[in-house]
Amino acid sequence: MDVLFQNVRELVERAEQEGKLISEIMIEQEIAITGRSREEIMKQMDRNLTVMEEAVERGLQGVQSVTGLTGGDAVLLQKYIASGKSLAGDLLLDAVSKAVATNEVNAAMGTICATPTAGSAGVVPGTLFAIQHKLNPTREQMINFLFTSGAFGFVVANNASISGAAGGCQAEVGSAAGMAAAAIVEMAGGTPQQCAEGFAITLKNMLGLVCDPVAGLVEVPCVKRNAMGASNAIVAADMALAGITSRIPCDEVIGAMYRIGESMNPDLKETARGGLAATPTGKALAAKIFGGAVVQGQ
């Protein structure tokens, strides 16, 4: 199989030596591995981008999950931004609200595009559709944003994990946030190495994050974790663009994430037995939702 990169170092080296964007290396690898045409591949990613746009749009109109645990927060944030009182800044909160919008639609069993998973599907589109207003990218550049995210996610998925059940939330929202940071850096004109720094800085700050969904539902705390993943990604991208580097190389951060996931107690890996799921309120919510049939192991 013609793999062009197995880790971030190889990805960055190839991009810098050939004077190409990371998104371009990802597209070339996809062509090499699948034998599909560039046009076909771009078209499929374009469709995925459209699904993401529609999910955000739907979320911003306000949705509620079946359980009522989540929904409506994206709308609250947009109203707050419109009030002009935002402390964090409009761009950051716009990203947060669009990340939340996507995950609220996901929790309501709506249609979304997993990036890299459904539980972490808000971060990448949330950041993309917020920085869009600042950087005014072409449609092709927006599609490339997803390929750059995909390139980093590809490395994480093959060298560590993108599954909360296997590696905790650091593997899901942590990976998604790193992917988004790298793609933001590229869209803002940063170098491939700066993309890697953005990824590393983000993931370092999400290491150890456990997966502890209340009642086993992808709602609490997943929706708000996407919010923080999006803000983490934008801040880390700005740090990388400012010239700040990660003392621990990107691939080693990914390796650390994998080992932390391996040593994480199974109660904290998507089993709904520990963390927030095991709090008195978490347990009460689970009992209420399942009509007394309490989730096991509490």
């Binding site: 197995q6 990613m45 595009c113 998925a157 059940a165 969904p213 089993t271």
Partner: protein
Amino acid sequence: MKFTSVFDIIGPVMIGPSSSHTAGAARIGRVARDLFGRQPKWAKIYLYGSFAETYRGHGTDVAIVGGLLDYDTYDERIKTAFEDAEKADLSFEFIPEEAHKEHPNTTRIVMGDDEGEMSVEGISIGGGKIEISEVNGFKLRLTGGMPAILVVHDDRAGCIANVANCLAMHNVNIGHMEVSRIERGLTALMVIEVDQNIEDRVLQQISYIPHITKVSRINN
């Protein structure tokens, strides 16, 4: 490498809420149906690890049943799969197990109808990606991402060559192949990943080869 395509990472397009517990589960159900060759009349669905703990919250149950009804990950009908199953004359039962499997998101689907039975074990490895780890007691590794044929046969010399010849005659290229057997001289299984979808007539011809007991396929 478990993940080969960028669309394993940016994708799939799916009905929420969980890529591993909803989309992956639907895919396992759908591949199981493909391997069985038709919609089963009944299914016993065993769940392990995180699947067993959180299947109701994640819609793992409706997703697997949806898969057995041939629904894809983005099919809105997943939400009504239970009602649809009743109309389609498919009865099902979920059995959460305490035993631990190698991977936390594992399910074993035992299904059948008046003509036969089959057991398929699948794991959801993250982001909607799956692997089939066991079929009728045979250990194997199948991603469902490529078209494949599974051939159950007597463990005799020449069987593998005959099947390979038949594929060559139809210009079907083999990408990856695995053979395994439960015990020497008894029943064996060939798992053959191929580059293109397999037509009915190829499947039929393979089934006519001596010592071949069963042939099934996964098309893409």
